[in-house]
Symmetry: C2
Subunit: 445 residues, 2 copies
């Protein structure tokens, strides 16, 4: 048996401003190097930084040529003030004058099959995804996933602060929540099971326990089409809550939630946003529009006739977002009252508008990022609606227990993490916002 | 188009101390009711509380008999100071003297098939799981999942604060990370895929990008045995990091991490811990013991001979935890240097101890909750080890890219959320710490 004391700090954050003219030791990987006659520069990639280091051949313990790109190194040196223009360097107000370099591991092969030292990767998506273990080392790729990580964290933080409890619902299920054919089938011992398309049933069940719940977890959709808007596995940010004032409660919560996330991105990811050349909106108000009115505006303003269609076409989403930005000064647009026939059975119909539901989509920068709405909460209403949808209620028996024994008015929404990340980062394909995307043609890496 | 202002507060937290003698309106569900001649009491369950409400038949707008258990209600009343002994009530220093009750929804059936108003559910596990939408409404069940939720949140918060970046790795994979037969097979369009047994390969790949990463997500193990220690789907809390001082860095990080989580549980879940009658340990030091020494102690102290066995038996885990608590005053015991043959191929061997690895398990209250260790980081070492394990390196090509082009010394660990929760809550079966457990016989609810 051995006893150890607990170390003071394990944080990898360094306050460089306090370390000016002091010696520090840091471990990281060589992002880039430029060897010159007198020595040269290397950029060292650490968990939180991308630091410029100056090498002096006369005093350094090794030849600068020995330090390869993507080597893991431990350096000791003096922190000096500096003014650096390259926006891929973080921080830009210091550099390290290196005294010694210890090479911890050197790549077996060099150079890399993709050049991660260039300002832009400039490779096609397939190559990017095939070489993901390497392309993700590029500063711009890294920035995308720091932003994605921050959205995930702040979604949870905001909701926890507001009385929501995190749940973890099963991904292996007996019955799909969203219906349809886009569900993956699984061998489950001697029987079959499916991969959850959404945590819908479970977050509703959990309303009975906690009244306000959220989940951040993968969902699985076996959609056969390979588009720039879809992934077969993605992270769904879900919430469900008791409604005290109807489904507008959800619109209020989502607006405040996004306002919080955007504010945290400005605070925690300012370098990443700058590197990608993008900004997040400043939300000051809520703008909603009814589903039918979108069709009307698109017809009147753009002469495209989707009137009578029961859903929004991607072209409409894009056009109405441009219109809303120009005319209503908003990048977020809540479209409400979608037709009953296009919403799942658990959606509540609008008692004042036959054939319409108390539901909404949130559009952002040309694309739907959220579907939400009020759910049925009375047992008999489920029986009626499921019958009219031709569903066998026996298959949903364990879910329906909740409603049989009492459930409050409630509703919820789901937000696609990769879509939101892609739209914030200005990516044209949602797959670029997935570390290891899955589509009909891709299972690796 | 309609414009709305953003509401001020959407939090469900109420500071009752500031509301004494004030009128408030709250929405929730009826946890329990006791009707008397003069009126009676109801307990109302809200997202954060379980509040005692006093009904006065003379002044109330409805008959107390009309308020059924598990009805959803909105009440208005005056907050009054009180001293309440029932530890399922939160908070216990106030009650609400109700003026009006609005019934939002009433159960279709009553009473519930399980009695959630009793102090203890006292039902067998199968009934508990079959009726999960109802049993989870019991205060003790609810407490377990508030604790579980807090562990999940604080794992992420602690690591984020210390420079770790959250990752989301794919759960549909082409190759299992842990090998063996306990992997679920999936129809993936025209081919086969598997469900990830762990995020191992992906968190290692991401070391190349971020140096410190973590993930909190489901993993899937097709283990056929139905035990009190196993789930077929569970939440794995994973981290991976550059090691600057070898694998003891991991032991330091995990100790600080658990110290943080336990301290947050005391802060945020004191009511839940009290209701369950449990406490969390106060960690003041780290105790480690080598694998071989555990066998020796078990033999010497308990006369059970496991010497020569290449793994720890559950009985040994239990006995050594009792021994460590008594003799070394610790509830956390790191067992290090497991045999090479029992650790996966990516584990680094101890250069100073042939046949042993730089790995550890963390034992807590009689059970293993973590497996961790240093990983190989040199490409050629992977080729050698995989050959000796009889593995076809071509199947791991996309993973091995990382090491071919340079990787720092690194390691990581995985912590089972349900096991940790069960051990904290004093549950005898890990399934009780899963909202909707999955085992060989259970796919519903």
């Amino acid at each position: 048996m051995q006893e150890f004391t607990i170390v003071d700090s394990i944080s990898s954050y360094i306050n460089f401003d306090e370390k000016i003219d002091s010696e520090i030791t840091i471990t990281g990987m060589v992002q880039n190097s430029r060897v010159t006659g007198w020595g040269g520069f290397i950029i060292i990639r650490t968990p939180n930084n991308n630091i410029q280091c100056v090498l002096d051949r006369n005093t350094l313990n090794i030849e600068p040529e020995a330090i390869k790109v993507e080597a893991a190194i431990k350096i000791t040196g003096i922190v000096k003030s500096a003014t650096i223009k390259d926006i891929s360097i973080v921080p830009r107000n210091i550099e390290i004058h290196v005294k010694t370099v210890e090479i911890l591991s050197s790549p077996s092969e060099n150079p890399l099959p993709v050049d991660t030292t260039k300002k832009e990767l400039n490779i096609n998506l397939n190559t990017n995804f095939d070489k993901r273990p390497l392309t993700l080392r590029h500063p711009r790729q890294r920035a995308i996933f720091r932003i994605s990580s921050t959205i995930f964290n702040e979604f949870g933080n905001f909701l926890t602060t507001n009385g929501f409890t995190r749940i973890c619902s099963p991904k292996i299920v007996k019955t799909g929540a969203e219906g349809g054919a886009n569900i993956f089938k699984l061998d489950y011992f001697e029987t079959n099971a499916y991969l959850a398309q959404s945590p819908q049933f479970y977050k509703q069940i959990m309303i009975g326990t906690f009244g306000r719940v959220f989940e951040e977890a993968p969902v699985f959709r076996a959609e056969k089409h390979d588009t720039s808007r879809h992934l077969n596995e993605y992270i769904s940010l879900d919430l469900e809550m008791i409604l005290e004032n109807g489904f507008t409660d959800l619109i209020q919560v989502e607006t405040k939630l996004l306002k919080h996330i955007f504010s945290k991105l400005n605070e925690l990811c300012s370098n990443e946003l700058e590197l990608l050349g993008v900004t997040v909106p400043d939300i000051e108000k809520i703008v909603t529009i009814k589903f039918d009115d979108v069709h009307d505006i698109i017809f009147k303003e753009f002469n495209k006739d989707y009137r009578g269609e029961k859903d929004l076409a991607p072209e409409e989403e894009s056009l109405i977002c441009g219109y809303a930005k120009k005319n209503w000064d908003t990048e977020l647009l809540f479209v409400t009252h979608f037709p009953t026939v296009k919403r799942p059975f658990y959606t509540m119909d609008d008692p004042d508008d036959e054939g319409k539901t108390l539901s909404f989509d949130l559009l952002f920068r040309g694309m739907e990022i959220t579907t939400g709405g009020q759910r049925l909460n009375v047992y008999d209403d489920y029986l009626k609606k499921m019958k009219s949808f031709g569903l066998n209620t026996e298959l949903f028996d364990s879910y329906l227990q909740s409603f049989r024994y009492g459930m409050p008015p409630h509703g919820g929404l789901g937000l696609g993490l990769e879509r939101l990340t892609a739209l914030i980062c200005g990516l044209s394909n949602v797959k670029e916002a997935s570390l290891f995307p899955r589509d009909i043609n891709r299972l690796e890496p």
